[in-house]
């Protein structure tokens, strides 16, 4: 009588499967990748401003209006406050989802205020003769503020969607987390853009 060893299949050789840990939800990972690529878009713009400014003999260029530094600083504070409120809403959501509604709504209103203020600033600057073609400063101003404004509008739209879902009691933690990450990016990138675009003057 002979005993033949039957070949083990791959699954038997490996033994029982090890439990897998999910480090972060797919939505959050996707948003982090998106934010990293967007970060490079804004980094490119910041570098371009730095190089053009360094080559300019005078900044703002002669004959061009000054950007409203103080007014936009107040607007920047409003945006930072909205970011803090979104963070607080995230904390409240973990305790009791309904309690996150108030800070979330105030944060959205502050975000809308920021975009509205920037829009009004655009109109005012156009009235003073600063256009996309009038100078390098005008080009950068409308390009950078415009791109950031589009991001802010997209983030506000996402937050309004979050607010509707939360009101209906259907919002998941992952959805809120993903939307907040994008909001934090929009809030935190703005002070850097403001610092590079608004207050600095060269040779004047």
């Amino acid at each position: 009588m002979s005993v033949t060893a039957l070949p083990l299949d791959a699954a038997q050789r490996r033994g029982p499967p090890k439990p897998t840990l999910k480090v972060a939800p797919n939505g959050v990972v996707g948003m982090l990748i998106f934010i990293t690529s967007e970060l490079m878009l804004f980094a490119g713009l910041v570098s371009a401003i730095a190089i053009v400014k360094a080559r300019a003999s005078m900044w703002p260029p002669p004959g061009q209006p000054r950007l409203p530094v103080a007014e936009t600083a107040v607007n920047t504070l409003a945006l930072l406050a909205s970011g803090a409120l979104m963070y607080w809403a995230g904390k409240k959501f973990l305790e009791n989802p309904r309690s996150a509604l108030k800070p979330l709504r105030i944060g959205i209103v502050l975000g809308l205020f920021f975009v509205g203020f920037q829009g009004a600033e655009w109109v005012a600057m156009l009235g003073q003769g600063l256009t996309l073609q009038s100078s390098a400063m005008g080009s950068f101003f409308y390009l950078v503020v415009g791109i950031h404004g589009l991001h802010a509008l997209a983030a506000i739209t996402a937050m309004i969607w979050v607010e509707r879902r939360l009101t209906a009691g259907r919002l998941s933690h992952t959805e809120f987390w993903t939307a907040r990450l994008f909001w934090y990016f929009v809030v935190l990138v703005w002070p850097v853009l403001y610092w590079r675009l608004y207050p600095a003057t060269v040779g004047s």
């Binding site: 439990p19 840990l21 480090v23 972060a24 982090l32 990293t36 970060l39 490079m40 980094a43 490119g44 910041v46 570098s47 730095a50 190089i51 400014k53 360094a54 080559r55």
Partner: protein, 75 residues
């Protein structure tokens, strides 16, 4: 072969093809250098930050799971 090709580059004069790099003003050259460094290291730093965050979350989850298994054994 590659070192042989690259070796003459050590003795070759600088070819100032880039309008910004060849700017006679030192301020502009410094800005260009800093911008290049910034744009080179920022994506690496961003990816490292995300990787570090993943690693921290993984360690926290593993510790949490280990504590759960220990509790089950004690029960």
């Amino acid at each position: 072969m590659t070192p042989l090709v690259l070796l003459p580059a050590l003795w070759a004069p600088a070819a100032w093809a880039c309008a910004v790099c060849s700017d006679p003003e030192a301020v502009s050259n410094l800005t260009f250098g800093l911008s290049t460094a910034f744009l080179t290291f920022l994506p690496l730093l961003a990816m490292a930050a995300v990787g570090w965050w993943f690693w921290r979350r993984l360690k926290a989850l593993e510790a949490e799971q280990g504590a759960q298994v220990l509790n089950l054994r004690q029960d």
